[in-house]
């Protein structure tokens, strides 16, 4: 008896990021599909569960449901490997060494300096101590830490929350470039216009559930 022919390869590639019934006792369920280069902007009141949502996608909080990257299930990857592909930048940046440069792998430093220059950060900041950074500088450098990973997806929690309009525009320009290059981004923002500027699908987090923005 002849083997049945394998099913034809699908015409369309699987979505970059697939969330199906992602939930925890604290938030969800969330179901969402984003293509390569797709962007989702989530806004909502403080405490509505926006950060919880990103943390669940990053697998930093216990959760159930299905998450896929380019069709491959998250459960098939070790957690650190998953987070390297889908890194998360918290609104409150965390630092674990004294000097900024020590937070980058040696081979990432050149890229980090380049991105820092584009975000109008003084070149000597990267060599200096973390202690001397302002809130806005910390935030930009924390986003750079994730950008240098060149990951297929990014989870950004208020990446421009502490930035002035000029720095915000510079950050958005970099994010737009990444989107155009195929990176998929979920970001939390308090500025509804930001989602529009990035061409994002806009959502509102209400009572720990995602709703399409009106």
């Amino acid at each position: 008896m002849a083997e049945p022919a394998p099913p034809p390869a699908p015409e369309t590639p699987p979505p970059r990021l697939t969330l199906r019934d992602l939930q925890s006792p604290l938030a969800g369920p969330f179901t969402l599909e984003l293509p390569r280069g797709g962007c989702a902007a989530v806004s909502g009141q403080s405490g509505s569960g926006k950060s919880l949502f990103l943390r669940m996608v990053a697998d930093l909080d216990p959760n159930t449901g299905e998450v896929r990257l380019d069709g491959a299930p998250r459960a098939g990857l070790a957690a650190p490997a998953w987070r390297r592909r889908v890194p998360y930048v918290a609104a409150d940046s965390g630092w674990w060494r004294d000097r900024v440069a020590e937070h980058f792998a040696p081979d990432q430093l050149a890229r980090a300096r380049e991105l820092a220059a584009r975000l109008a950060l003084a070149p000597d900041l990267i060599e200096g101590p973390v202690q001397r950074l302002s809130t806005g500088e910390r935030q930009r450098l924390a986003v750079i830490r994730a950008l240098v990973l060149d990951s297929p997806a990014l989870l950004l929690d208020e990446p421009t929350g502490a930035l002035d309009p000029d720095s915000t525009a510079k950050m958005e320009a970099i994010l737009k470039e990444r989107l155009a290059a195929g990176t998929t981004i979920i970001l939390v923002t308090h500025d509804p216009a930001q989602g529009e500027r990035l061409g994002a699908r806009r959502f509102v987090m209400r009572d720990r559930r995602l709703e399409p923005a009106a």
Partner: protein, 264 residues
């Protein structure tokens, strides 16, 4: 041995010093006199009680009696280690960890001493086993409680730094390695101080006791050296077990930081 026996009257004279402390507290309004007097009274009652119990256990000369008293002492040490940190695990995790640490540290060090250096006949002779456990538990308690407190306090304070690393793909091991090093280092500081000060700054209690009780100083010194080695071993094991065990409970199969397993 020609130990000079102490009479209750001798002790009463020394107790005058405690009364002096209390008097100072009253005069200087330090509000410590109640605490000093209660602590002194408590110390006397506890020691007299253990003296009677040890006399009973020594005369019983039975392994069950020896083991029973060792178990009670170890359980109290484990409880103290678990109770010390400001941040505590939910449920009985803390007690399970400290119990394991105390058990491993005590069994290994005391076992080593009783089977190699000191070989009493019979092995369960309470005079040796109970005394060794008593002195080692002090160090085990010190190292374990300081390391445990340092770990649980540090992990809560450094949450942002640890999760920032995890969020970029670091393993849990990498993210907590400074914390782990710091907790174990702190746990071992007391015994390092104790060893480096021994004989120069302080005459260790055991040695002093033996010399006062009439033993030749060189014999007392040899015992003291043996004990110091046992104490450092006990400290290291105790700190190591509570810190590694604690870190295992602070993460899960997805290498998350599980602060939800601590009490609020």
């Amino acid at each position: 041995m020609n130990a000079i026996s102490l009479s209750p009257f001798d002790l009463a004279i020394a107790a005058g010093l405690v009364a002096f402390d209390a008097l100072l507290s009253v005069l200087l309004r330090l509000r410590l006199h109640r605490q000093i007097l209660i602590a002194a009274a408590r110390m006397v009652v506890q020691l007299v009680a253990i003296g009677f119990i040890l006399r009973l256990v020594f005369s019983a000369a039975h392994p069950v009696a020896t083991l029973a008293i060792i178990l009670v002492m170890s359980a109290i040490a484990a409880r103290e280690i678990a109770a010390r940190p400001e941040r505590k695990f939910k449920g009985f995790t803390g007690l399970a960890l400290s119990g394991t640490g105390v058990a491993i540290a005590t069994v290994v060090t005391v076992g080593l001493a009783l089977t190699t250096a000191i070989r009493p006949h019979p092995w369960y002779d309470a005079r040796y086993a109970v005394s060794l456990v008593g002195i080692i538990l002090g160090s085990v308690l010190n190292a374990g409680s300081i390391a445990f407190d340092s770990l649980l306090g540090g992990v809560a304070r450094q949450r942002g730094a640890i999760e920032a690393q995890l969020a970029l793909g670091a393993t849990f091991d990498e993210a907590v390695s400074p914390l782990r090093r710091e907790a174990i280092r702190r746990g071992l500081l007391p015994v390092i101080n104790q060893m480096s000060a021994a004989g120069v700054i302080t005459l260790p209690g055991i040695m002093t006791g033996q010399i006062l009780a009439g033993l030749d100083p060189m014999e007392a010194v040899k015992y003291q050296i043996l004990l110091m080695f046992l104490l450092s071993g006990g400290s290291g094991l105790s700190a190591f077990v509570v810190v590694f065990g604690g870190l295992r409970r602070l993460t899960d199969e997805r290498q998350r930081l599980r602060l939800d397993r601590l009490r609020d």
